[in-house]
Structures are given as structure tokens and as C-alpha cells.
Amino acid sequence: MTDVEFLLWVRGPAFNAALFIMLAGMLVRIMEILLLGRKPNLAAARGSAAAGGLHTLWRRSIPDKDSFQRSTLVIVAGYLFHIGLFVTIFLFVPHILVFERLLGFGWAGLPSTLIDAVAVITVLALLVVLIHRLTSPVLRLLSTTSDYLVWALTFLPLLTGWIAFNRVGLSGPMLTGLHILSVELLMLAFPFTKLSHAFTLLMARWYNGAIAGYKGVKS
């Protein structure tokens, strides 16, 4: 297969397949969760479960003071790479064009030189997070092969994207093609790994807040 055929394949059938599996897979995952159901709560409510759910949805994004002091590295590096991913994925014009195809609408992007810098910071943050996972006793106990695989699948699009943008090394079609392929691999992994948290955390936070809110506690 030539470089050009490779690029056309990743832009064509491979993208379709990845998109199909990611979307269908996530829907299956979400429905599997929802259809397990919840028993209605027969105790007298003190507060509103729905208000609690909504509250925790956003409030949980802000760590409490003690947790921040104890887990500073995890929180800072974690936020850096999440925000970095958000910026590089959603605010880079060539990517916005893809979303325009997917959603039917687009939005303004940031200067590409800024995205370039953010990508570098994100890569560094991801490396920090990996080192932490490899050295912290708690994370060494918790971590599975899947954690490391997901790390690599998250790292590769950033690395290949940066390389493709800065044109280091291989031919144009190959650089762009490898980047798109790495994104497709990430998409494929979504329904089958902890990456699903990107969607299911909304459900988890909601349930947490609802359970607490019912009792009158803001969690």
C-alpha cells in the first residue's frame, strides 16, 4: 500500500468503521448501565435528588482543599492534559472541520501556533502522569494493562499530530495518515476501556449527587 492509498483508507473506510464502533459501542455501554435500573427510594426525602445530581455534575470538577494538597500532582497534571486535549482536539481548525462534518456546525478555532504549544504541554503532562502511574504504590496496585494501553492510545494522537503539523520525518500523506489512524485506534478503544468515563462520569456524578441530595447533602 502506498502512502497515498494509506491516507485515503484512513480518511475513508477506516474512519467510518471507527466512528461506527465508537458510537454504537458507547450507546450499548450506556444502555447496559441504565437498564440495570435503580430501586425507587422509599425513605422520606430531605432534599432534591435532581438538584443534587445537577450540583455534583459540575461541583465535582473542583477538588476540595485537602484532596488538592494531598494529590496535587495528579490533579494539576490531570487537568493540564485534559484541558490540553480539549484545546488541541476542539479548537484546532482542521479538527473543527471534522466536527462540522459530524455535527453539522462548527466554531471558531485558536491560532495554530498556540495549539502547537498546548500540544507540547499536554504531551509533557501525559508523561508526568505516566511516570506517576509507574511509581506511585497506590497506582501500581490499581493499574492494569488497559490503563497503560489507554495511555498510549491517548498519547499517540498528540505525538503524531504534533509531528504532522510540524512536518518532521515522513511524507505528508504518511504523517497525516498515521495521525488519523492513531485517532481511530483511540476511538475504537472508547467503549471497551476506562475511556468510557468521558461519557459515563456524567452518570456517575449525577447518581452520586442524587443519592446525597436526597439526604440533603451537597456532594
Binding site: T2, D3, V4, E5, L7, L8, R11, G12, P13, F15, N16, L19, F20, I21, M22, L23, A24, G25, M26, L27, V28, R29, I30, M31, E32, I33, L34, L35, L36, G37, F92, V93, P94, H95, L97, V98, E100, R101, L102, G109, L110, P111, S112, T113, L114, I115, D116, R167, S171, G172, P173, T176, I180
Partner: protein, 363 residues
């Protein structure tokens, strides 16, 4: 045919001054990105080279490549090059026609066996026995195979000859293929473009005559001319880097000369000399004129998604994919979720109360 005189002799016969000749060699050196010291080498080599025969076969083509070569720079020198290389067969430029023209082709093959250069433009149809393009009762495929057998090397000029080009575009009704798809035992130099840049065509020929077969990239193109992408030499690159893109052909960004990525420019994945050599004697090239690069020197450029869709976007109909995926996901999710739900309910129905005597295992 005067195949036995050297190029140097031919030039002198034409009254071309040594000075003009050296100027041409210097231009060629620059074109191939060689240092100025190479100019005398080119001059010395060309001078001594025998005027090789060149047979130019035109198959399923639009004649754009032939048109292009006639626009090659320094036109009087190009006339000389034609004289120098003894162009013995070329449909558009040759004076004779009919059986006589074919006879000349056969003679060259016989008398210059293993020595002549074969230039091909246009793709070769192979479907239905190749009936979609025939000359003098022979299919293009037959002519090509018969001629190529005796050639020293083949230069596939234009994207059609190099990769199949427009005739090969989906659904490819004639079964068009590239030269390299049919000939596997001769060196082939691809000079793609739709059409290729005039000076690139002649430059490749000069390079071949001077240095023999040039260094080729994985797609068979001379690295000297196709080694860099449009994107890497594009004067609008600073705008790409900054993220300043034209959104339409006549918006403020377009008028400011911003990057045409959003309008579908294939510059990043296209390898050619357009951004540096340009067209019309160095006047301009598509991007400079405000139109995104089509990627015309790349294989399957016609089927690589719309010319006006950005390189980052998917080429297929993903709207359909989304609908199917959503449907499949919800359906499968309902089924699987339903099964889990039922099994859980079953477990609950078969619940055996745990009393204080059930807290320890029977020893």
C-alpha cells in the same frame, strides 16, 4: 533521423552559441537544486551525448501534457532539445500521419533497440480487451507492451500515465491503468501532474540525459522535483501556522491571501514543484491565484474526497454511518441491557434470605 551526431554537434549546427548553451545548463542545474559547479558537468555531458531517439506514445490523454511541454521556458532552447533528442514519434507534434508514422515507430524500435527513450502520456485502458483506445487497429496496451520491450527507459509524463489519472477515477469505465501497472521490467520515471510543470518535464529529461536515472521517491518520481510538498514551500504557510484560513473564495481572509486549507487545499499531501517553480514562466500557481491545490500529481487525486473538503475531514458519507451506528447501538443496547436486567431480576426473585444462621460456612 540523424541519430548519430552528438548534442554538441547538433547545437553547433543550429548556430546555438556556447554561451546560450551554458546558460541553459546553469538553469537546469538550479532547477534540479544542484550547485552552480554542476553546470559545467551538465554542459560537458550533454555535449558528448549522442542524440537519443525518443518515442512519445499518447494513450488515453487530453494532450495537456504535450501542451505543457511546449510551454517550457526558454523556448528556443526547447526547440533545440527537441532537435537534440530526436523526437521521432509524437502524435501532436509530428508532421507525418497514418501508416507512415507507424512505420517510423516500428523502425525506431528495431534500429534503436535498447537505446531509445520511451515517453508515455495518458492512461492505458485494459477493460474489454482494451478496445476503448486503439491506434491503427492496435490497442494501447498492445502498443505499449510492444514498444516498451525495446526501450532503454520509460518516462511516464502526467498523472494519467504515472498513476491512471482522470480516466481511472471511479467508476473507471475503461479499466484505465498506469504504465507501471503493465510494464514491470523496465526503469520507469513518473513525472506526474495534471499537467506536469513544463520545466519539470524538460528538467527530468535533462537530468536523465546527464546523470542517468534520477533518484526516485516511493511513487517513482524524481526526488529533485518531487521531493518536497507544496505545503513545505508554500508562501502562505505562515498563515497555516498561525491558523488564519480563508472560509470562502471571496471573504476577507481570501482577499488577505490566507491559507486555503479550509477550502480543501491538498498542499500538505502533494509533492510537486508548483510552489517554487510555478507556472507560466514563474508567474503564479493555483494557491497564489486563490484556489486550493488539487493534489493533481498524486495517485487517485480525483477520488480523494472533494477538492473542496479539507484534508482532515473524512471522505465517506459519515452522516449515514452515524445513523446506522446510533440505530445499531440503541438496538443492541436495549437487547443486552434487557438481558442483564432480566437476569438481575431473576437473581432477586430467587433470593434466599440470609439469616443469622447463614453467616458461616458449614465446616
Amino acid at each position: 533521423m540523424q541519430a548519430d551526431i552528438t548534442i554538441g554537434e547538433a547545437l553547433r549546427e543550429q548556430g546555438i552559441s556556447r554561451r546560450s548553451f551554458l546558460k541553459f545548463c546553469a538553469t537546469s542545474a538550479t532547477l534540479m537544486a544542484l550547485p552552480p559547479t554542476m553546470a559545467p558537468v551538465i554542459a560537458a555531458t550533454l555535449e558528448k551525448k549522442r542524440r537519443p531517439s525518443v518515442v512519445w506514445l499518447s494513450f488515453q490523454e487530453c494532450t495537456g501534457c504535450a501542451e505543457s511541454i511546449t510551454r517550457s521556458d526558454s523556448s528556443t532552447l526547447e526547440d533545440l532539445i527537441f532537435n537534440v533528442i530526436s523526437l521521432d514519434y509524437q502524435h501532436t507534434l509530428q508532421a507525418c500521419a497514418g501508416h507512415f508514422a507507424e512505420h517510423i515507430r516500428e523502425q525506431v524500435i528495431e534500429q534503436q533497440d535498447g537505446k531509445f527513450i520511451l515517453i508515455v502520456d495518458g492512461s492505458i485502458p485494459v477493460k474489454d480487451g482494451g478496445v476503448y483506445s486503439t491506434i491503427a487497429g492496435m490497442t494501447n496496451e498492445q502498443i505499449l507492451k510492444e514498444t516498451a520491450q525495446h526501450a532503454a527507459a520509460i518516462v511516464a509524463v502526467g498523472t494519467c500515465a504515472a498513476y491512471g489519472g482522470i480516466p481511472k477515477a471511479d467508476p473507471n469505465p475503461t479499466g484505465a491503468v498506469a504504465v507501471a501497472d503493465l510494464i514491470h521490467d523496465k526503469p520507469i520515471v513518473n513525472v506526474p501532474g495534471c499537467p506536469p510543470i513544463p520545466n519539470v518535464i524538460t528538467g527530468v529529461l535533462v537530468q536523465y540525459l546527464t546523470f542517468g536515472l534520477p533518484e526516485l521517491d516511493p511513487l517513482g518520481r524524481p526526488k529533485a522535483f518531487y521531493g518536497q510538498s507544496i505545503h513545505d514551500r508554500c508562501y502562505r504557510r505562515p498563515f497555516y501556522n498561525k491558523g488564519l484560513f480563508a472560509d470562502s473564495f471571496d471573504d476577507e481572509g481570501a482577499k488577505q491571501g490566507w491559507c486555503l486549507y479550509k477550502l480543501g487545499c491538498k498542499g500538505p499531501t502533494t509533492y510537486n514543484a508548483c510552489a517554487t517553480e510555478k507556472w507560466n514562466f514563474g508567474t503564479s500557481f493555483p494557491i497564489q491565484s486563490g484556489h486550493p491545490c488539487l493534489g493533481c500529481s498524486e495517485p487517485d487525486f480525483w477520488d480523494a474526497g472533494s477538492f473542496y473538503s479539507a484534508l482532515s475531514t473524512p471522505t465517506d458519507n459519515i452522516g449515514e454511518t452515524i445513523i446506522y451506528a446510533a440505530g445499531a447501538g440503541v438496538l443492541a443496547g436495549a437487547v443486552l441491557g434487557g438481558v442483564h436486567h432480566a437476569r438481575k431480576k431473576s437473581a432477586q426473585r430467587h433470593h434466599q434470605p440470609v439469616g443469622i444462621d447463614d453467616l458461616e460456612k458449614e465446616s
